[in-house]
């Protein structure tokens, strides 16, 4: 592990050093470090690339870091990580992928994460994507996340991709059982000629399931974004989609939320707004002493919750 590796790790998993608790660091397709604890066991898959993360029932207050970094230009991989989380857990999982591409080849990481969450467990899952390097090679990430949230469980999923990734297609499916909760926060900033597409499906399967999708995105320059969040209510449930996007430069954003009620007591809402930064927002911050550029920066910082 060198300085560049830690720069990437800090961006994606907020790691300054080797973390405490269980971890698995994957670098250019190989393990660059792994540690299992008594409650959290990390093992290689035997049939395909990737790992199984087994978390014992009753595990509370523990953290798992599973960052992936790619520094070899032209390297491409598809990885499958499965999380088996027992009942009554309270855990935080930090994932994410950082690509440093200073060559001409396309560097690409396709990660498929599947979560099986036991009864009454609380899981916080944070995934950050980051790219840098001055090569002409594209930095590509196509993450897929599937969550099966058990009865009474809670999943909070925060996905963040601020600059750096040239092309991404994200697919997320979250299925909630009875009394389960999901909060999905997606934050995205694209610039240059980047392209980002996200399909998100939240299925409220059990009675009193409660799910929210909150998406905030900023499109700059000539970048393009397409966002399709969909909530399906199959029981007495509550679902809410809220998408806000800021358009800058010549960027284009399509936000296509959908709500589908397949039960008479499904209560579903969607809200979507796309627009440029309002002139009075900039002027207000300028009257507080910021320049126009600083005001724009502060507005984006607040919007993306950085």
């Amino acid at each position: 592990m060198d300085k560049l590796d830690f720069t990437l790790l800090k961006e994606i998993a907020l790691m300054d050093s080797i973390p405490t608790g269980a971890y698995n660091i994957r670098k250019n397709g190989e393990s660059a470090g792994r540690f299992s604890t008594e409650s959290i066991r990390i093992e290689n898959k035997t049939d395909k690339p990737g790992i199984d993360i087994n978390i014992k029932s009753g595990t509370k207050g523990e953290t798992v870091h599973i960052p992936v970094i790619i520094t070899d230009t032209g390297y491409s991989e598809t990885v499958y990580n499965d999380f088996f989380i027992g009942d009554d857990c309270d855990v935080t999982i930090m994932a994410g992928c950082g690509i440093h591409n200073c060559g001409d080849g396309e560097s690409r990481h396709d990660g498929v994460h599947t979560f099986y969450i036991g009864k009454n467990s609380v899981v916080r899952y944070a995934e950050r994507h980051y790219g840098d390097g001055d090569g002409n090679g594209e930095r590509v990430m196509n993450p897929e996340t599937v969550v099966y949230a058990g009865e009474g469980s809670t999943i909070q999923m925060d996905t963040t991709q601020i600059r750096g990734i040239d092309s991404t297609y994200r697919k997320t499916t979250v299925v909630l059982a009875k009394d389960a909760n999901a909060i999905i926060n997606e934050k995205l900033l694209t610039h240059g000629k980047q392209y980002a597409e996200s399909d998100m499906e939240l299925v409220l399967n059990g009675e009193n399931a409660n799910g929210r999708i909150i998406s905030r995105s900023v499109g700059q320059d000539e970048s393009k974004q397409v966002f399709r969040p969909c909530v399906t209510g199959k029981a007495k449930c509550f679902g809410h989609i809220r998408c806000d996007s800021i358009l800058m430069g010549k960027a284009t954003i399509s936000s296509i939320p959908a709500v589908a009620a397949e039960h008479p007591e499904a209560n579903l809402i969607h809200e979507a707004a796309i627009g440029r930064i309002a002139g009075d927002q900039l002027i207000k911050l300028m009257t507080l002493g910021l320049t126009e550029e600083e005001a724009e920066e502060k507005i984006l910082e607040g919007f993306l919750g950085e």
């Binding site: 905030r216 309002a278 507080l288 002493g289």
Partner: protein, 244 residues
Amino acid sequence: MLEIKNLCFSATDGAEKIDILKNIDLTVKDGTFLVLTGPNGGGKTTLAKAISGIVQPTGGKILWNGTDITDMSITDRAHTGISYGFQQPPRFTGMTVKALLQIAAGGRKLSRLDCCNYLNKVGLCAADYVDREVDTSLSGGEVKRIEIATILARGSGLMIFDEPEAGIDLWSFAKLTETFRELHKESDATIIIISHQERIISLADEICVLSGGKIAQHGNRDDIFPKLMAGDINYGCEYMRKGN
């Protein structure tokens, strides 16, 4: 000292030129609490925006502490100590009240307690608001009070408040008038408040009545206030002057 000399502002509506401010001359000495009042459309907000740089006058000059600021940017005027509380403040999705107050305070680092103090001064229970986002989840009155708190946090030499009472409930309004009274008593700041409220007008050292883009009256509160109350000010409307 704020000196406004022969200030004019005209807008065009198609081919028609509309004079919004007509040769305004106004001097406000340091530490003065001036209320700017008068009928709707009289030019009060335009004058406040011209002072803060949001509107560029078409003629005349504005001097602040002897410096000609007429051509200065909004940002530079803010740095010279001019702040303006909007009549209809914008909202900022994702930005917390604390973050907005911190921007207002500039380089001075605000503690949570500092933020709470500013919010309390505008009648907001700080614990409920400091971490909230300044977005559409807040009512108009709440956003308005947060706006006033940003001006208090900025602590400029010239504070302009544009109809601070608009949209604010009766209970909070009482708190707000008390805050303006204290602000005037405890700071050296020059305060200009655009208002139609008797309770705010009665706090002022000076009252300036702007009507039809001109100053109809300007003087000490004790001279102008009784006339305002009695309806003796000539707003330039023939119909009203005839007592119809």
